[in-house]
Amino acid sequence: MIYLDCAATSMHKPRTVQKAINRAMATMASPGRGCHRPAMLAADCVLDTRILLADYFNVGEPENVIFTSSATHALNIAINSLVNSGDNVVISGYEHNSVTRPLRGLNASLSVASSPLFSPLEAVSAFEQQLDKADCAVCTYVSNVFGYILPIKEISALCKKRGVPLIIDASQAAGVLSIDLLGLDAAFVAMPGHKGLLGPQGTGVLLCNSETRPVLFGGTGSNSASDSMPDFLPERLEAGTHNVSGIAGLYEGVKFIISRSEKTLLDHERKLRELFTQLVSPIPELEIFISDDPEMQTGVLSLRSDRLSSDELAERLGSAGICIRSGLHCSPSAHETAGTLESGTARFSFSPFNTAAEVRCAANAMIKIFNNM
């Protein structure tokens, strides 16, 4: 099997991740639920991971690193903290449903700062035009469909200048691009643990630089006589038992990234993406969404063909043991912006563990599929 769906979940992880998960499950209980050894081992594991992430993402205090079950969970907290019913929220034209659905659920009024694919100057300009009446802005760092790296520093600076709090969805950026919470001065940055950070499913992270409102209420192991959530982080946003084994795995995933450097990992993924593009480009009537500037795209590639639907292509590749994703990728707004809403796209996303041999094999399989039509 060749797995090229890393933008959904990075299935191959460093070996240390699995070991850490097993060790946590065998030895650790729940932080804040006692001072016995298994509880304190769990508490140490969670704090160590918080400190690691706070340092890696320049969060300041480790208490401002919140563990969630996913990026979606993290985005829900961030949006619920800043947005009230009727608020005007500016979003990019590349947002995931994990941004648009919570905003719709809160009855926010959405203004889309729409700009063409791989056009960062126009993206900044679009935000500039929309921010005047905004109560909040939400922007993805990287499009999950096209791997397009949005000019998040410039958008963040604009938001700061206009006094508009910014939520950054770093789901496709974390692990391959630098993220500096305090440097960007974003209100929140949300990310999953199971994609670029190489942790297990069921982990997510919210970096906080703003006042918060919980979306989940319950036990925290602190202030238990009160029926209100604590007013301090991280407890305020972490009701219920932590996913300790997941957090233990996430710690090792992030340690791996730091040891290799995110730039090295991104360069590797880009090379694979470029190799794949070069190999499949001769296929007639194939539309490949690629930036002229390689710095503007991660290791994610979308394509489509009038001869074969993206779903059919994914199914045929799947039969050949090659795993990709097709359709809308939970981001209809990105497809609307790029003009691919009707067709969807077939998405190939590469990881630090994919090889050039795998890419050649996948490209050959695709060429064979189209040659046999």
Binding site: G34, C35, A43, G221, S222, A225, S226, F232, E235
Partner: protein
Amino acid sequence: MLKYLLMCRSLTYAQRASRALEHAGITAVITKAPKSASGVGCGYCVKISESKLSLALNVLRQEGLGPTRIFVMAHDGSVSEVNS
């Protein structure tokens, strides 16, 4: 020997306080706060020996981890608040 209990606002702070104190050579054990000390239920504190109180408070203030309250624990386990 008397012990001092340095109340922390949360387990995370208690862990960070304990680590900072241990780093400074002060033995600091995380314990659940006695009910009479926590007030709001399920609080955490770090327990240190009597002779280390002054040094411990200096370390914690430097780290921005100052305790919310300080209690002295008598031999019989009873606690009473002291002024910091």
